[in-house]
Symmetry: C3
Subunit: 348 residues, 3 copies
């Protein structure tokens, strides 16, 4: 299929292949069948999110082909997965965040945003090429950040949200709220310590797979794990170990309520960091250490950046994964170190 | 003139040429006559701002020559335009921002600041050289940010400004102000929707040219447009299209009052982004698309970063332009893409 | 010693040498005796801080050797000094910052954190290698920032501290406090102007040496100056000039109380910036100018970033030094400039 020309009757087949792979490569699972399962799981969780993702990915494959991006990247969906994430995460997260009601025609906005993401993707890849590292999902993070912040500014002004009470003043009484806040916080903290449920922490480690795609329910997450397993059982095990490490560490590092840990929002970055280390690097004992370390560093990074993101309500997206994986993979570009980048990957 | 030695009787001529070109190259108009017109427009708008710019540019040309910066960059004013901007924008913006009264002798401060900017400029150019991209006006942005924030901290402490009410407490009653804020905001938003005046939006798209130089009035802006036109009618048209796109999009994306849109503060980044795309890249249909996209992305970037800048009252400067143009131009450094950097430019 | 194998009976000697040098190279003093004196000064100031530093450095030398970092860097302690700083500064600064009581067994936490710092160090060095510049103490800054912010978030939530009153509400009454704040600030400012004591400013310029290592008292600082002098009298003089410039400029730029200036917290970045310029660059008149400029720029940078750091209570660490030295050294990587990187250093 790779050898066929795009401008031939093979176009629909090549396009479908690239789009489906885009769904997979978000989590390194470069395989159209895995991609299809993941797409199905997203549709099952929320049809608007699934459609937005599909539309974004399709637009992105065509757009990046027209831009002249390297053909093997286009065919593997690597030029489209950032657009897919912007389309999916923004429909899944923006409405709640900004108190908007999502309509089906909002999905059409995915088209221009997907095109912009393609340019950001290509540009960042060039900027990172002196370091010999891929841009991972940094383009998604930047575009989604731009989108969230610009719309939030438009709707609510540039106020900062301070400790759950935002300062924009739409009818809230800041000082009254403040007086009761001290009590609430105390309760939440005390509540946590008595109620910590390890079963829910485990649940969170499974839900992480869904959170990567903005599909937060259990059924979708299980289908996505199945899709990972189909691509590579080994990668799936590493993903899960990373996710468990993330969930458990987050119990000690996330402040306030543990509901975010239970929902998998503190483990998907660890999952991707551990998986990414194993995926990009030549297998060795050192890589195993790096994977565990990467999972831990992702939680610390998330706990740290939340201090900066929380006042503008910006979700953490996959910044922690990108920071950690970029630093760790950079080591392998230096000669003499015991880490080496894989060039030909073949997975069981 | 280029072939003459600096250390000869030609020194004043070479210096004047480089300084005047510095005024032009802020907006890519590398031409001493355009530069002269722009300088005149700045003087007409505010003589202190003009003098500060002239002084900064002169110091910077000499300083960068002494530093051993590449001679063709010095002669084209490319090593001096960042200093010029720091000198001009800081005298134009700082006093209002920090509630200071500007005296003429403050202009002398331009000298050390211009020298520092030269070092930052040369350093950043080196740091960006692996990416094969120019540093644009990033040095100006960094130095101006440092200056604004450090003086603000000195004068008012490190408090954050929350929704128009800053928390430093110089006699303001935070909670009283807060109670009336909700009403004010509602009024402003309602006011906007009934009062949107497209004529003023058009005015804003013209004023953008002045805002680049800290000269916010109509007469100066028109002279500056004339200077652009003299350098290249085509570039001027692209500038204006970018500016119009920026103004119109900002109507939908800027929060609160539209007075900033009317003043051209939301369109100069779009103007520069569109112009920059056309200036740096080999003409093609794709470049036209990139120019339009760049203009749109600049508005989104501005709306996004304002969330981060507003609490410290830092003006947006030309961050949006720099982010957008750096990402877009980076694409052209990758082989295979349909964008190519121009090496020899000859305009109209 | 350098030619002996690590895996021989020479191991303890090589390890000790590398660890002691790590103490020195924080301030470029690459010499085991200087390192020993500095370690002693840290122990004298606070035994926990000293032990944490020693433990971190030891772990880091072994860890970076196992990672396969370049041998000459490991032997010179250059792969360990960032870990040392994280260990020392975090035990010295974190407890006060977060209102925690430090126990001796907390020191054991230095081990995992030191290992993480090694990875960040190696990764960042690779990321910066296209620019041909060392990563300086950026790894320390990033890891310490991550640690401070993540623990702060865990303990107190993601609230911002606004003007000395943090918003987390543990029993504080925001609005009452606010009413009295205006008066306090006025008093502090007035107080300053009458009380400025130049002797204390000089004291601050001496204490700067200790602050680099988290050892804030005079005796330790003097031992550390002695250690610098032992390595190189010239470098020490430059350090002190930088420190003096920093202290004096900070009197005009630091807001509020001058107690931080008196404690040397506004001069150690200037000290390192001036010293670093002279250490890395080939001696010339231009380098002298750069050293003075670097010392000034460090104070401006500190005053600027404090606006961003203060709301999360993040200490300034050595960000100003790293920003300034990276920009200034980058100039030397460009051909034609009058600054050149030293390749072989030999110091009086």
């Amino acid at each position: 299929l790779f050898s066929k020309s795009w401008w031939s009757p093979w176009f629909p087949a090549k396009l479908t292949n690239a789009v489906l792979r885009a769904f997979g490569v978000v989590a390194f699972a470069n395989n159209p069948l895995s991609g299809f399962l993941i797409m199905a799981a997203m549709m099952a969780s929320d049809v608007i999110v699934g459609v937005a993702g599909l539309l974004s990915a399709t637009v992105a494959v065509i757009c990046s082909k027209l831009q002249g991006a390297p053909d093997h990247l286009v065919c593997d969906g690597l030029t489209a997965f950032n657009s897919l994430l912007v389309g999916a995460i923004c429909t899944a997260v923006l409405p709640d965040l900004l108190n908007l009601k999502l309509h089906f025609y909002h999905v059409l906005l995915s088209i221009p945003i997907s095109i912009i993401t393609c340019y950001v993707d290509l540009g960042l890849s060039s900027l990172m090429s002196p370091c010999q590292l891929p841009a991972q999902s940094i383009p998604f993070n930047l575009v989604a950040t731009g989108l969230v912040l610009s719309l939030r500014g438009r709707l609510y002004g540039y106020g900062l949200k301070i400790h759950g009470i935002d300062t924009q003043g739409h009818g809230q009484m800041y000082d009254d709220a403040f007086r009761t806040l001290a009590q609430d916080i105390t309760e939440v903290f005390e509540g946590d310590q008595t109620e910590l449920q390890w079963v829910k922490v485990l649940e969170g480690s499974v839900l992480a797979a869904g959170q990567v795609y903005g599909a937060g329910n259990m059924a979708s997450s299980i289908i996505i794990w199945l899709a990972f397993f189909l691509y590579s059982p080994i990668l799936s095990v590493v993903f899960y170990l990373g996710s468990i490490i993330g969930s458990c560490l987050a119990v000690f590092l996330s402040p306030g309520s543990l509901s975010e840990v239970y929902a998998g929002l503190w483990s998907y970055n660890s999952m991707l960091a551990a998986g990414g280390s194993v995926f990009f690097l030549q297998p060795s004992l050192h890589v195993a250490v790096v994977a565990v370390l990467g999972a831990c560093m992702a939680v610390f990074t998330q706990a740290a950046v939340m201090n900066i993101f929380a006042p503008t309500q910006l979700p953490v997206l996959s910044y922690p994964f990108n920071v950690v994986i970029t630093i760790l993979l950079a080591i392998s570009t230096q000669r003499g170190t015991t880490l080496t980048m894989l060039t030909n990957r073949s997975f069981p």
